[in-house]
């Protein structure tokens, strides 16, 4: 299809896009003791370039202590047929400050610059929301899950921005009985949005007290929304199978009703779909066993901090941040996930303390997959306070980014021996990298209407 808006006509067309030659990842100093701003790092990912696998520019945000975390594009394939839109700006929120940084990545893709900051105090005053997390564009509009009210209490809500990055207000008409917010994804052809649950900012920001899970301070439900009416219509109680359900991924195929969420603490993958009676159903399709640790009284859960689907919806990837492995499952039959690949880096079980000459502190955490499904980029830091609890050496070692080559035909994964970005060697001292995106879109940005 000939068109001139951003993105691609379909997931199949997205898979034909040129290889990503630049990577953007956020890097934080929050919680490290280094009194410098967090920043967006640009990494040269052209194998023929002399600066391949190096940070080539750093766009600092104005403040200190924002805790940059997730980010999203101002536009994606959801406005593919809108010639007035372009994938130009990354919205990069600070979870702690609630400031939302708008970074221009198109004027000079190798050297992004700060375009605008939406002041967190202004967001709190106008919407009584704080702690921005996931960003999805929605045609020309932008919605952001906000995990708390202005005082950091759950459940928060959704911030609505227009395409000029002005605060419109609250997006949702009702939060229903939802207790917590976190991630969300929508599938417009089924008029549905699914949201998941972490905890209140006042609960998760200071760090993870395991005991608070039993006191119901963390989530164990997912929520199905009437997307047009902007209100939740059905909640699914996942119980012990679904403790702390985090990343939500629908199939990229806009006609599909299948989706998945990773329950971090239960270390399970939950699959949902609409049955022949138009009822939403769910089931557990992956269960990662807890591992005993020789010196600890409590067995260690995998802590599935992220999941991701390949653009063709064939493979599901997950990270066990505490165990230290990344897994690839063939989900061609979404009811029946087959383990097809596994690699190790870092983690608490000591399986791969060093990779490509760099000591991996932390475990595999955020991942981003190339549009063609062949290269998976992995970073190691989760959240500053949680890093400090589980991997205290990250303060001096910093985080790192690695690349995993994925076999899209037969399944299988292998860590690329020639790619490593050591954020322990940054000019201002060791920083920690988190979510990654690239200029042409990726496997967690684009949604088709």
């Amino acid at each position: 299809m000939e068109c001139c808006g951003p993105g691609y006509a379909s997931p199949a067309e997205a898979m034909q896009a040129p290889r990503e030659k630049l990577l953007y990842t956020i890097a934080i100093y929050t919680g490290t003791g280094i009194q410098k701003p967090d920043y967006l790092a640009t990494i040269d990912n052209d194998p023929d370039s002399p600066t391949y696998s190096q940070v080539i520019s750093r766009c600092e945000v104005p403040g200190i202590g924002d805790e940059l975390h997730h980010m999203g594009w101002n536009a994606c394939s959801s406005c593919f047929d809108d010639a007035s839109m372009a994938r130009k700006y990354l919205l990069v929120p600070g979870v702690r400050s609630s400031n939302i940084h708008i970074i221009d990545c198109a004027t000079d893709p190798r050297n992004p610059t700060l375009f605008k900051v939406i002041d967190g105090a202004d967001i709190k005053a106008k919407t009584n929301l704080s702690a921005p997390h996931t960003i999805h564009c929605l045609g020309s509009e932008i919605i952001i899950s906000m995990l708390g009210d202005a005082q950091g209490n759950a459940p928060g809500g959704y911030l609505h921005l227009n395409k000029d990055f002005e605060i419109v207000g609250r997006w949702e008409n009702s939060m229903g009985n939802i207790k917590f917010g976190y991630d969300f994804w929508y599938q417009p052809r089924h008029n549905v949005m699914v949201s998941s649950e972490w905890g209140a900012p006042n609960t998760f920001m200071p760090g993870f007290d395991l005991e608070e899970v039993g006191h119901l301070k963390y989530g164990r439900e997912i929520h199905f929304w009437d997307f047009e009416k902007k209100e939740p219509i059905k909640s699914m109680y996942l119980g012990e199978d679904g403790l702390i359900p985090l990343e939500v991924r629908f199939h990229h195929d806009p006609d599909s009703s299948h989706g998945f969420v990773g329950a971090a603490l239960s270390a399970n993958i939950i699959h949902w779909w609409k049955d022949q009676n138009d009822e939403w159903q769910w089931e557990k399709i992956v269960d990662v066993e807890n591992e005993p640790h020789p010196e600890w009284p409590i067995p260690v859960p995998g802590v599935i901090s992220v999941i991701l689907l390949s653009m063709d919806d064939k493979y599901l990837y997950l990270c066990n941040w505490l165990h230290g492995d990344i897994r690839q499952y063939d989900i061609s039959d979404p009811h029946n996930a087959k383990l097809t690949g596994q690699v190790w880096m870092g983690g608490l079980l000591g399986k791969a303390p060093e990779v490509n000459g760099v000591k991996v502190t932390g475990g595999p955490q955020m991942i981003q997959l190339s549009l063609d499904g062949k290269r998976l980029y992995v970073t190691t830091s989760l959240f500053s306070t949680w890093d400090n609890q589980f991997y205290p050496e990250i303060r001096t070692n910093g985080g790192c980014m690695l690349m995993v080559n994925c076999d899209t035909e037969n399944g299988g994964m292998e860590i690329d021996p020639n790619f490593v970005v050591d954020f322990g060697k940054e000019p201002n001292g060791p920083s920690r990298c988190h979510e990654t995106r690239y200029p042409g879109g990726d496997c967690t940005s684009d949604i088709w209407l």
Partner: protein, 122 residues
């Protein structure tokens, strides 16, 4: 009323601060470089260790009871009730972070809203 704040891990530097203002604001206004995040007492980024003196940090919701027992205070909401000695920055965070699988909390060590009262020995 003014109180004297001594920063033990900054060569014992001292600052006069107003008892009505949060310590984070008073110290930053006088040029002390301090980490902070949310500024409402919820995120723990600005935690410091109080080794002498008293503060009122009633608005804080970030610390569990073990962290409070270990002397941690949340500077963005803590106001001094006396002269105080503090250790600041992440160097003071040695006991702030704890692996919950290695070192669980007892019921009385949870955050105030869910902690059970510790039975006092007769």
């Amino acid at each position: 009323m003014m109180h004297k704040i001594t920063l033990a891990n900054r060569d014992g530097a001292t600052y006069e601060v107003d008892h009505r203002k949060p310590l984070l604001d008073s110290l930053r206004d006088q040029g002390v470089d301090l980490p902070y995040g949310c500024k409402y007492g919820g995120c723990i980024t600005c935690a410091a260790k109080l080794t002498d003196g008293r503060v009122n940090q009633a608005p804080q919701v970030a610390l569990n009871n073990r962290q409070i027992t270990d002397g941690y205070v949340i500077l963005c909401v803590a106001r001094p009730l006396s002269d105080c000695t503090l250790e600041i920055g992440v160097e003071s965070h040695d006991k702030l972070y704890r692996n919950p699988f290695l070192d669980p909390l007892a019921p009385h060590e949870l955050k105030a809203d869910i902690a059970t009262k510790l039975e006092k020995a007769p």
